[in-house]
Structures are given as C-alpha cells and as structure tokens.
C-alpha cells in the first residue's frame, strides 16, 4: 500500500522532560519520526516541553510547540493547527497517556483528529492489566497468577492466591513507578498502599512472583497489511524481579534453543495482532522458566520504547523511522533497508556480534535512597557496547559506563586483588579473610544492586562455584561461565608481571575485552607502555560494520564497532574529516543537552562539506543514529578506544567541547598523543578548571572572584576555611553536576565532609570557595571565534545562590537585575573569552551581592543551557561554535550581535525524588535534576507558570497554601503570604511561621507538626487539603518533620517550593495567570523566532 494521501498534517507528541524511565530514547524516536514524515512531504506539528532535545529544533518540524504536554495544552495546539492525525506512539508513556486522555474526553473527535499507529482500544488493552490478561487468555498465553485490587482489602484477598513474594504493580505509571516486591505481610501492606497512591486510577496488579525466571524481550513491528517482523530479541542478564531498565541486557537472546525462541516469536506475533497495534513497533516481555521452559507473557508496550531504541542501535534497523512510515500507510516491503539499500525493511535483522547494555545509576546523588533494584526503574542512563563475544562486549560496556571502572574489575578497584589473593593463597593465608568475604557476598548477592556484577566477579575470584552464584542471583550460568572465563584470563595475564606477556595471550586478552589499563594494572605496567607494546606486537583494533544482515549484503552505512580480529572494514576518508566525541551514558549532570550540541555540530559541519565522525556509547541518543554523522563509531569514550579510532581514521580535527565532561577529561591526554584537538585549547580548558591558574587570571583581569583555595588535606582545608570565612562551598576538582559538592558552615561539618564524602589525594585536590549568601546568580552563554565574542544570553537564576545551577530554574532575559550589572557581566565575559582564547562556546557563572559582580566559574565548553538559549534566541549556538572551530568567523556567520528577545523564556527542572523512596527533596550545591522544560511567554510570570505545568507541578489558582519556613525566612515570607492571601488563598502554617504571620496581621489556619499529634501536617497533605507548599529547610534539628512534609508532598504530587525566591516567582506567576483573564495562548518556536526578526528589522 502506498502512503496515505488523505493526510496533510500530523501532530507528534514528544515525551517531555528527561525523567527516570523516560530519557532521550524518545528524542531519538521523535527526531527519526519528524525527519521521516517530512521526507514524505507531510506537515509535521510537534509538541514537546523539553528544550534540550534535537526534535524541538525548529528545523525538525514545521511547527514546534515548546509547551506543557498536558491535555489542556495539546488541545490548544490542536485547535490552532487542526492536524488530520495524531501519532502518539513515539513519545513514550507521556505521549500515550495524553493521547488516551484526549481520545477519551472526545477532544480528538471534536476536532476530527484520527489516532494513527495505535488506536485507543489497542492502547487500553495493552496498558490495562485486566484487559491485557483477558487478551492473553484468548490467544492461549499464560500470564502470572494474580489480579487487580482497588482497595487494600481486595489486595489481601488476592495475595492468598499468589503467595509471597508477591509483585505489586500500579496501573498506568511510568517506568514501573510505585511498583515493588513484597516478601512478607508487613512489606505487603506498605507496598500496596504506596502502589495504590501512585496509580493515577488507584489500581494495583498483584501478581505471583516469577523472580529468578529468565526474562526476554522481543521488538516487534507490524504494518497495515498485517506483516509482522521481529527486529531483535533481548535476554536479560538479571532475571525477573529487576526492572528491565535496571537490568544488564544482551542482544540477541543467548540461551534459547530455536524451538524455544520460535515459541516466543509466535507468541509475540499473536500478541501484537490480538492487542491490535496496527502499525509500528511494540515491545513484548516474557518470563521463561529456567526449569521447564514455561512461558509467561508479562507485558506489552504498544509504542516505541527504551528497548526499541536499544534494538535499533543493536541491529541497525531504525525502528522509529520505519514505525512513522508504517503509520502513514506504507508496508514493510515498500520501505528499503537503508543499510543495504537493495533489500527491503520486511525482514528480520540478523547480527554477528554481541550487544550488552548496562544501566547507569546515580545513587551517589541520593544518600538515603534505597539502592536495591526491583520492579521500579532507578537508573538514569545506559551505555551499550558491541563486541564479537559476550566477554568483549561486557567489558567494553563496563568501561564505557563512566563509573571509573576499566572493565570487569582488574583495575585496582576490586574488592579482592587478584595478585594479593594468589600470593595469600600460596602462603596459606587469607583463607579466613576470604571466608568472611564470601559470607558477606552471599548476603549481598541476593539483593540486586548496581554493584552486583562486580560482586559476582569477586565471588568468582574467591572460588565460589557457579551453581552457588546462580542460586543466589538467578543469573543464568551461561553468563556466569563467561564471566569466569574473564576472571581466569585475568589470572593468566597477572602471571606476566615482568612484561613478558606472549603475543597470543595479549591478543586473547584484547579479544576478551581487556582494556590497556586493566592489562597495565595486572602486569604492573602503565597504559601507555601496554599500548606501545600492543602496537609493536601488531595487536591492533579492527572495526567491523553493524549492517543488519551479518555481512550477507554489502553495507552502505559506515556504522562501526571495534574488535580484535583480522579484517578492518573502514574505508579511507575522502575529504577533510572532523571527529566529534559524545558524552557517553546519561547521568545526572550530563545528559541530553550535550547530545544536542554534538548533533548540532555534526549537522553544521556536514552541511559545510566536512566528513563527520561521531563517537559515542549511549544507545538512547540521536547522535548514535547511523544517519546523523557520516561515520558512526559505537565505542566507549576512553583514551584507548578513542585513540584506536583516531589511528584508523586520521581525522583532521577532533572536537571535545560538546560532549560534556567525558571527552573533556580526555582532552589533555589526547593532545599529548598528537591528536589534533580543534577549538579552545585543552590548556585553556585546564586553566579554567585549575583554581590557581584561574585565580591568577581573574586577578590580572581585575574581575572579582570569591576567595578560594585548593587543598590536599583536612588541615589545609581548615586553614583555608578560616582564612576566607564560613560558609564555604567544597567540592572535588574536575566534576560536573556538582558531584559531591557541599555547603559547609563550620569546622565540624568540614571535617565530616573531608572524612566521609571525598577521597583527597595529590591528583584529586579539593576546591574551597567562599559562599556568597543571599547573592543572585546568573549564567551566561557566549560564542567566540578567538577575536569576537557574542553573548547567546544571560540567564537569571530563580533559586538563590547555593542551589546548583543545573537545579535552578532560570529566566532569559533577566528582568530583576540592574542594567549596569548586565553590562558588567557582558564585559567580563568578553574579557574572559579573549584571555582564554576561546574558540567555540563559553559559559560563565556570576553572582551579584551588594552590587558587586563576582565570577564564580568559567567553562570554556558547551554548557547545559546551550539548547535552551538557542531555542530562546532562535540561533543555533552549537552550530556556530562548530563552524568557528573549523575556521569561520562570527562575522562570516552573521552572528555579531546579542539577541534580547521581547518575550521571556523560563527553564524549569524536573527532579527524580519520587523514584527514590527515602530520599529528601531539598536542593543544594549538588545537582539532582534529571531533566528540564521550557516555558515561553511575553509575561515572565506566565512563562514561569507554563514551566511549572510542563514540569508536572501546575500552580493552583485557589485553595490552601501551607507555609512552613525556617527562622531566617520568617520575616521575608510575610510579604509572600500577604500576596497569596490577597489572591484568595487560605494560609495554613505551623506554630513558628504561623505566629510571625499572625503578628503581621494575616489570618492563618494553624496546623500541628507531626510530633504534636494527629491530625498533623502530613495528614493534611495526604488528604489533599493543601494545594501548594512553601517549605524552606529548618536546619538539622527539625529535619525529620521537614523531611516528612516534603516526602508526603512528593508522594501526593503537591507542588512543594523549597526556596523563597522560587516562592516569589510562583506568586507572581499565579498573579499573572489570574490577571491574564483570558486563556493562556500557545505559540510555536517558529513564530516566536519570527517576532525576533521583526524586532531586529
């Protein structure tokens, strides 16, 4: 069937901010869909609140609405754009949920908008557990025993049938939010209550536990002619019981016979047909009993998912792009396979390598959070690695994870050192110690955590039998045997400490994925020596192609991975080549923004005729799509792996400043190895990071800089702190996202920090800065060609100083700052960029206190805010930066003047606290947010309100506000409360704050603190008596009460503001919303940018 001609315009809904369970895989899918549909000549209208995405680039759609993804706002867009159809299957659960809401409310019918891809009935059948179970029964598939409960009583009835452990899954939540496993009655009661409260329809599924069963996923595609193909099978290393997003997963399936695999394949085809997903990709999960192969259908996603992104990258089959084309009527056999060009998309990819995906967690950011992995996803990102063996892929994956490991241990960070172990054994010692460790491991391994694969490694080193490890973990013995092979090889390598390792062993080690760093550690050498010895022995990496067909057809797309075999498949370059290093796995502090910058750079350079090479290891991203760059290398971003590519490809320039901290860390060593780094020099980057050098620079330039020092010990720290005076900000050098950064008020806390939070060493000093209390902070992004410097924008932080800039909402242009300070920031930025000889992007953070502008830090690289600023001012800053790096001037490019938009753009952040039971929601110097949204409007208050709605915390227009603030804030909160009172809100307060407010003449409803007895403050929150909370931290003594308030607010999903400046912004936003009197309008980025052009003319 050819494409539909009755459609002109298509509405695509994105997935909004990056949250746990929904990350940049939907930027990948949305971007592919936008490109594919525009290629077919359709008019694409997009709504997505996330400015950091590629898909919201104004070039990607005909109309791009950066607006909240709520039914209300999507309806506004529909009313304005009148699309013919809505494609809801590419924007994750967010898009699907909104589409369902709009369909059920009759909105789509009212505007004559047809749902394509999946119809309402299909979505509901897949998503509603009860309908899903019935559907599975109809096609003869088993599902786990269990049923649905809407009340705690019903849940107790059900558990009689399922027994313990029982799985509790709330209906309609993201990434399994609210789900858990209960092993006892007491755990069960709590789990059910929590599950019911997280489910938007107050319903939980109680299921028999299949913990320990093998877990598989199949990625299925179907077209309107009912052709169905399986794109990829995925086997989970971690068995059932760990959310697949938190599992190490492997493609293709490894331990199934053909008969078993075909049973899963047949079942998948039946499922997609019975559920009735008409076109596109779906993901179907199965549990398979390791005892007898019994198959249970677990769930189905009637849309493109995280696993689809993985499957696309793992096979080279672009699922989202094909799904978009199928949705408009094409059949699979009408679409060519881009990679082979001569064969159609109606086939099943076959791969001749092994793919391993490893999740990246961020528990270090949430000290009190429960780190056990279960049915609710907790990881914030992932890395994927490709190798010719499982051993090679898993080691590449572990070293690409950016957790400072270089493979499966053997890097000096193992719990057990192989060498010491052998020595101890020989001397007959260490056995007691080993027994003790084994006991600990037995305990630890039954609880899945981020550390489990390393625990398994240690257990193998200590000689624990495979059978026992299997019994403890449920990890299939096949995987365990392969890990043991690695451990055994580690032993063999370690026997050659004198540098006499035979070539054959070196080759085998590389084939098993050992990095040069590991080999160096094991042989008592260093990375550089191992590398030169390897090159001398001609043990070189070769690159093979990901081609969907295991070499049966010639591949036209250069998508490569490295391995150690005989044949290299890369082709010689044909023209000037620029290589761009990506950011690796997403984590808090380094996410999609950097992928955006990398992709922008690639696109600009490609357009200018350069051959572009992308290197990255994150399967969720747009940058790892094979048709973005001219050549894609799916590789870990380590010195060794990057050097291998450089030596094969010999690029003319390498760009390190777009991928965040990951490539920056490599800059100096790459440069030393002769790699042509272009743009700002690694030395300048180092200068900006090095406090001493940077201090000298600011001094020379006469720019105020808060007093600071660099220390290597606690004693030095005390000295510096007393010299500059408390409070001080402390942090390790070279970090992104404020990792381990803390605000310290006295000697005791400083000592505590130095002892527990960080590891100080000559290579890892600690930075101490004077903290400017009550200052206002600003972020400035600019681009420089070495001569001219042009500001992209100045952002005013809404949260006060001390909150990490990545966690602070901000507004562009600033509207509360004196013009003279703006000029000062401009001048300082110019001076800094010039003296650092910046070629490319530069980000400067300022604080203003008592009319003095201080520079806090300078980052001569792409910052987190580049995509936000670019969208606010309608200028692709990262593209300009890439072009100046290859020699263009800003004058050539026509960007010579700062653009100050006549409207306000607000960036708001999204925090993951709801996913981490036990964690507090306080903000501080360490970044905790996972994603961001943008609100645009003429009136800043309304732009802020849009940002709040987009971030999931719509501001109330009436009701009750709970005010509970610390003593310092008592005075300042009076005005806020008065405004809220004037806006018609009821003010509720606890004793301390209440007294102050009453003294100021406000009417206050007093409420008990928790210890004062029921009904107390938390009861009111749980009962939804409260619509907005203003709660600033009360200091350590009252922490528990505070903590309970904030935790309850998170669980009840009530907006909770923890800083006064944010409270002020909220008040102004509520005022603006009320004053606006008419409906808040929506406007596309293209239209906003049009107003900029008008303003300039």
């Amino acid at each position: 069937m050819p494409k539909r001609t009755d459609i002109e315009s298509i509405l695509i809904i994105g997935s909004g901010p990056i949250v746990i369970g929904q990350a940049c895989e939907f930027d990948y899918s949305g971007t592919q869909a936008c490109r594919a549909l525009r290629e077919e000549g359709y008019r694409v209208v997009l709504i997505n609140s996330n400015p950091a995405t590629i898909m919201t680039d104004p070039d990607m759609a005909d109309r791009t609405y950066v607006e909240p993804i709520t039914a209300e706002y999507v309806e506004k867009v529909i009313r304005r754009e009148r699309p013919d159809v809505l494609l809801p299957t590419l924007g994750g659960q967010t898009a699907l949920n909104v589409a369902v809401e709009l369909a059920e409310s009759g909105t789509l019918d009212r505007y004559g908008v047809e749902l394509i891809g999946a119809k309402l009935e299909a979505i509901k059948m897949a998503e509603d557990r009860e309908l899903f179970q019935k559907a599975m029964e109809r096609i003869g598939l088993e599902v786990p025993r269990g049923g649905f409960a809407r009340t705690v009583e019903e849940a107790w009835e059900l558990v009689k049938n399922t027994g313990f452990p029982a799985i509790i899954r709330p209906a309609f939540t993201l990434g399994g939010a609210g789900g858990s496993i209960a092993r006892s009655e007491s755990e069960y009661a709590e789990a059910v209550e929590w599950g019911l409260s997280t489910s938007p329809i107050t319903e939980v599924l109680i299921e028999e536990s299949v913990i320990g069963w093998k877990e598989y996923e199949l990625e299925v595609m179907r077209d309107l002619a009912d052709n169905v193909v399986i794109i990829c099978s995925i086997e989970n290393f971690d068995p059932m019981g760990v959310h697949t997003g938190d599992s190490i997963t492997v493609a293709p399936a490894q331990t199934l016979t053909d008969k078993e695999y075909q049973a899963l394949r047949n079942a998948s085809i039946k499922v997609i047909r019975e559920i009735g997903v008409e076109t596109g990709g779906s993901n179907i999960q199965f549990a398979v009993s390791p005892e007898d192969g019994r198959i249970l259908a677990i769930e189905m996603n009637p849309r493109v998912s995280r696993s689809s992104a993985l499957a696309s990258k793992a096979t080279g089959f672009p699922i989202a792009k094909i799904a978009a084309k199928l949705a408009v009527g094409y059949t699979l056999d009408e679409i060519p396979n881009d990679i082979t060009r001569e064969t159609p998309a109606s086939f099943e990819p076959t791969i001749d390598y092994v793919v391993v995906k490893i999740p990246r967690w961020a528990f270090e950011k949430f000290p009190n959070a429960d780190t056990q992995l279960g049915t609710q996803m907790k990881s914030v990102g992932e890395t994927m690695a490709i190798g010719r063996t499982f051993k090679e892929a898993v080691q590449k994956g572990l070293r690409g994870l950016e957790i400072d490991r270089h493979g499966l241990g053997a890097d000096g960070k193992d719990a057990v050192d192989a060498g010491a172990l052998a020595a101890g054994r020989n001397a007959g010692q260490a056995d007691d110690q080993a027994d003790g460790m084994l006991d600990d491991l037995r305990e630890q391994m039954t609880r899945p955590t981020a550390e489990r694969i390393f625990q398994i490694k240690t257990a193998l080193q200590l000689g624990m039998p495979i059978e026992e490890i299997y019994a403890l973990t449920g990890v299939d013995p096949w995987f365990l045997h392969n890990l043991r092979d690695i451990v055994e090889l580690e032993g063999e390598i370690g026997a050659h400490r004198n540098g006499s390792m035979p070539r054959n062993l070196l080759h085998r080690a590389k084939q098993a994925g050992f990095s040069d760093v590991q080999i160096a550690h094991l042989t008592g050498s260093d990375e550089r020596s191992v590398r030169s010895r390897r090159i001398e022995a001609r043990v070189d990496a070769v690159f093979k192609t990901v081609d969907t067909c295991a070499a049966e057809f010639e591949a036209m797309t250069p998508y490569y991975y490295s391995t150690y075999e005989t044949e290299n498949e890369t082709r010689p370059k044909t023209r000037e080549t620029i290589m761009i290093l990506g950011g690796g796995p997403n984590r808090i502090g380094q996410g999609i923004e950097f992928d955006y910058c990398c992709v922008q750079a690639v696109m600009a350079l490609k357009e200018d005729g350069y051959e572009t090479i992308m290197v990255n290891s994150n399967p969720e991203t747009v940058s790892t799509d094979y048709d973005i760059s001219d050549r894609l290398f799916f590789e870990p971003l380590t010195f060794e792996d990057v050097m291998n590519i450089v030596e094969t490809e010999k690029p003319d320039g390498v760009i390190v400043q777009f991928g965040g901290q990951t490539p920056l860390k490599l800059a100096l060593s790459l440069e030393r190895a002769g790699v042509p780094i272009i743009g700002t020099s690694p030395d300048s980057i180092d200068l900006a990071e090095d406090r001493k050098r940077f201090g000298a620079l600011t001094k020379a330039l006469g720019i105020p800089h808060p007093p600071h020092g660099t220390v290597f010990s606690f004693e030095e720290a005390l000295e510096v702190a007393s010299e500059i005076g408390y409070p001080v900000l402390v942090r390790p050098s070279y970090v992104l996202g404020g990792r381990n950064m803390a605000l310290v008020y006295d000697d005791d806390s400083l000592q505590n920090y130095m002892r527990t939070a960080v590891h100080v060493s000559p290579e890892h000093p600690i930075l101490i800065d004077k903290f400017l209390e009550d200052a206002f902070e600003y972020d400035v992004d600019a681009v420089s060609d070495g001569t001219d410097v042009v500001l992209g924008g100045i952002m005013e932080h809404i949260e006060e100083a001390g909150i990490h800039s990545g966690d602070s909402a901000c507004v562009l242009p600033p509207y509360m700052v004196k013009p003279m300070h703006i000029d000062t920031m401009r001048n300082y930025t110019h001076a800094l960029a010039r003296s650092l000889k910046v070629v490319g992007l530069i980000n400067v953070q300022y604080a203003i206190k008592n009319d003095v502008v201080y520079v806090l830090e300078v980052n001569p690289r792409a910052s987190r805010t580049i995509p936000f600023v670019s969208k606010a001012i309608g200028v692709p800053l990262a593209q300009l930066a890439a072009r100046v790096m290859v020699g263009k001037t800003l004058r050539d490019l026509g960007f010579t003047e700062e653009i100050i938009p006549p409207y306000a753009s607000v960036k708001e952040v999204v925090l993951p606290f709801v996913k981490f039971a036990g964690s507090d929601s306080l903000l501080g110097p360490e970044m905790k947010s996972t994603g961001e949204v943008m609100g645009i409007y003429e009136e800043p208050g309304i732009a802020f309100a849009k940002g709040q709605s987009a971030a999931g915390g719509s501001l109330p227009l009436s009701g009750t506000v709970l005010v509970s603030v610390n003593a310092f804030d008592h005075e300042n909160v009076v005005d806020i409360a008065r405004e809220l009172d004037g806006l018609g809100f009821t003010i509720m307060a606890t004793s301390g704050t209440g007294r102050t407010l009453e003294d100021a003449g406000l009417e206050v409803v007093r409420v008990n603190k928790v210890w004062e007895g029921e009904p107390h403050i938390v009861d009111h929150i749980r009962r939804s008596d409260i619509q907005l909370i203003i709660n600033t931290p009360l200091g350590k003594s009252a922490r528990d009460d505070d903590y309970m308030i904030r935790r309850a607010a998170i669980e009840a999903n009530i907006p909770c503001i923890t800083t006064l400046s944010a409270a002020w912004s909220a008040v102004k936003a509520i005022q603006a919303l009320k004053n606006e009197g008419r409906e808040i309008s929506v406007k596309s980025l293209q239209e906003w940018h049009e107003t900029l052009k008008e303003a300039r003319v």
């Binding site: 002619a225 009912d226 052709n227 193909v229 399986i230 293709p252 399936a253 490894q254 331990t255 199934l256 016979t257 053909d258 008969k259 078993e260 695999y261 075909q262 394949r265 047949n266 009993s289 390791p290 005892e291 007898d292 192969g293 059949t331 699979l332 056999d333 001569e342 064969t343 159609p344 109606s346 086939f347 099943e348 990819p349 076959t350 791969i351 001749d352 390598y353 092994v354 010719r388 063996t389 499982f390 299939d476 013995p477 096949w478 045997h481 392969n482 093979k544 067909c549 295991a550 070499a551 049966e552 057809f553 010639e554 075999e565 005989t566 044949e567 498949e569």
Partner: protein
C-alpha cells in the same frame, strides 16, 4: 589443538580445534541464523559442505535429542568464532563439542567468521579444507583446489534412506511394501491417519515429517530412486518432495519420475524438491553466488501481497524465466534478490517452495503451506 581452514583462493585461517579431529573437505558456505546450530548440523541438505555460522557464539545451549533434524550431522566441517564450552539450557543433554566429536564433524573455533563470510559473499562460495592438528597451509590450499565442485554432484544418493520407513512417534520404522499388496504397507501404522502421504527422501528433515504427522497424515518415507510406478502402486493421497543436498541437475532420475507423478497425485515440494519439480516442469536451475542460508529471508506471496519471513538453505535456484507461465504460476518471490521462491501448477494440485516451511531452525510463518497440502488431498 590448532586447526586450519583453507580455501581454494589461497586464504588460510588458523584457529582452535573443537569437535572431531581429522580432515574434511567440502564447499564452504555461511549460515546467518543466530540460533539453531543443532538443526543446521543435522540437516541433510548440508551434505558436502563446511558451514560457518555468522553468529559468533555457538554451543550456548548445548544439544538435545529433540532438536535433531535427521539421525546425525551431515555437515563436513563446522566453523565458529567462539565455541561456548559451558552450555546452559534445561533441554540440554550434552555439549556441542562432544556431539561433533561423536559424529566425526571437524570443528574450528576462533576464526574471524565475518571476514570469511565477506569473502564468500564477494567471491562466491568456495571449496575448502578443514583440518585439525599441525598442517602445511600450502598443502591444504592444494587439497581445497582438488575438491570436486558442487555443480553436477548428486549428493541425494548419499543421504536418502535405503529402505522405506514409517515415521511414527518421532521414530523410523523400516518397512517394505508387500509384493502382493503394496497398499498393505499403510496398514502397519499404529495410529490411523486421515491421509496417506509418501515422502520422497532427497535428504528429508524430521520437521517436515513432524508437520505432516501433526496434521493427521500417515507418513511413509521412500528412497529417492523409487520410480513413479512404485509410488503409484502404494496409492498415496499425496506426495511430499523433501529437501536435500547438492545439485538438482544431477538427480535426473528423480526428475523423470516426477514428470509422470505431476498428473497423478497432489504434490508438495520443498527446497530441492521444489527444484526437481521445477525441472520436471521444464525449468532450468542455476547456481547462486553464495546461496541463501539463514532464518530471515523475506518472501512475498504474489497472490496476497503478504510477506513471510522464511528459513532457507539452498545454493541452487530455478530460473523463473525458464518456466512456461501458461502451465506454471509463480507464487512466491524472494524480496532480497527477486529469485523464485514458489510455484504452482495451473491445472494440477501440485506446488512447491524453495524455502523451508518446516523451519527448524527458523520462523514458522509459512507453515500454512502444510495446511494447503492437506487441503489439496481432500
């Protein structure tokens, strides 16, 4: 122990021995199925071939009696990237290494199988030698060049059954038709079936027999050189032409008998059965450059437009242009290279497919063809 694979073009790969030791010769081909190595090994169509699997890890789930496609392996040699010594699967009864050793299949592991596959794709399949233990590479290449070419080889003779047998309960029960009452042969079945089907054994896979038995057929397997007259004397309801190895052009005796049978009984041909039928209908066969061997080949049914994902294993094909389309309808084509995948006689209930509806290994998308065969006998 070291092991070697030498090709006629002079390429020599060194790896490690697994399975049986010794030396074997054959045509070197690649198979792109990611799983199903035991079925591949025991598929008689691989007679005379050294098979490399493009999927690098082989041996993962061991071997088990339920995954045999014939009594024993037929491949000459087996080439893999990394042999998995420790199988894990509840169905597994032993390791692949042991299985190959027991059946004299020479295996080699540690080979850059992707480089090998690319070579075969670009230059076409080649003759080769697989050998374990110390060897002189040049001598091996010489030996590879002396291997007889596939074209013109009748390998059916080497794999077909000597005597007729009943297929019942996953077992072969050898029988000979009584001279006085040939039809009496059907009386010996334990289970009464709805249809009497004879299977011409050109190298049959057990899953063809299983598929027929599952659909209520009494399955009687006959040697490939059974004449039309002998077959007709048994008065079957239908005739199944099985898969098999080698060049169909060298199996002229079967083609001649088929010419007679076409007009007399419903016929369903698979793989070489399809090629022999095509040749009996006047078509010509040609050798593909590197064949189709895998589980992901897209085939379109011309009638419905539906695409099925098929298991394939063939080095020869029937040239669609040589068939008389007034007599023969072209029912299926391969979407990758547009070669003929299926045909049907316009007047008689006779049809065939080039691919493997019995799968094993591979997708079950095409098992409707067995139903179609059953329907043709009704």
């Amino acid at each position: 122990m070291e092991a070697w694979l030498a090709l006629e073009d002079g390429t020599v790969y060194e790896g490690e021995s697994f399975g049986a030791t010794g030396k074997k010769v054959g045509e070197v081909v690649f198979n792109t199925s990611m799983i199903g190595y035991q079925e591949v090994l025991t598929d008689p169509s691989y007679k005379g071939q050294i098979v490399t699997m493009t999927y690098p890890l082989i041996g993962n789930y061991g071997v088990n009696p339920g995954d045999l496609e014939s009594l024993h392996p037929h491949v000459e040699g087996f080439v893999v990237r990394e042999y998995q010594r420790n199988p894990s699967n509840w169905r597994s009864t032993g390791s692949l290494d042991r299985f190959l050793d027991d059946h004299g299949v020479v295996g080699i592991s540690g080979i850059d199988t992707r480089a090998l596959t690319r070579r075969l794709r670009v230059d076409g399949v080649m003759r080769g030698v697989i050998s374990s233990g110390a060897a002189d590479p040049d001598t091996l290449v010489e030996q590879a060049r002396a291997v007889p070419r596939m074209l013109g080889q009748d390998l059916v003779r080497e794999v077909t059954t000597d005597r007729p047998y009943r297929w019942e309960g996953e077992r072969r029960i050898y029988v000979d038709p009584p001279d006085d009452d040939p039809e009496g042969i059907w009386d010996g079945f334990d289970e009464p079936g709805t249809y009497r089907v004879v299977v011409m054994d050109y190298g049959v896979k057990h899953n063809i027999l299983r598929n027929l038995a599952r659909r209520g057929c009494q399955v009687l397997v006959l040697p490939a050189d059974y004449t039309a007259e002998q077959v007709l004397r048994l008065n079957p309801d239908g005739i199944m032409l099985s898969n098999g190895p080698g060049d169909p052009g060298a199996v002229q005796y079967a083609i001649e008998e088929l010419k007679v049978l076409i007009e007399r009984k419903p016929i369903f041909g698979i793989c070489i059965g399809h090629q022999l039928l095509g040749m009996a209908l006047g078509g010509e066969r040609f050798k593909l450059k590197f064949g189709h061997r895998g589980a992901n080949q897209p085939v379109r049914q011309n009638e419905s437009g539906r695409v099925e994902i098929t298991a394939q294993n063939h080095g020869f094909a029937i040239d669609a242009d040589t068939l008389d389309e007034s007599e023969v309808e072209l029912t299926h084509i391969n979407l990758n290279d547009r070669t003929l995948e299926g045909l049907r006689h316009r007047r008689y209930p006779v049809f065939s497919v080039q691919y493997h509806p019995e799968a094993s290994p591979g997708p079950h998308d095409a098992d409707y063809l067995f139903d179609r065969f059953i329907a043709s006998m009704q």
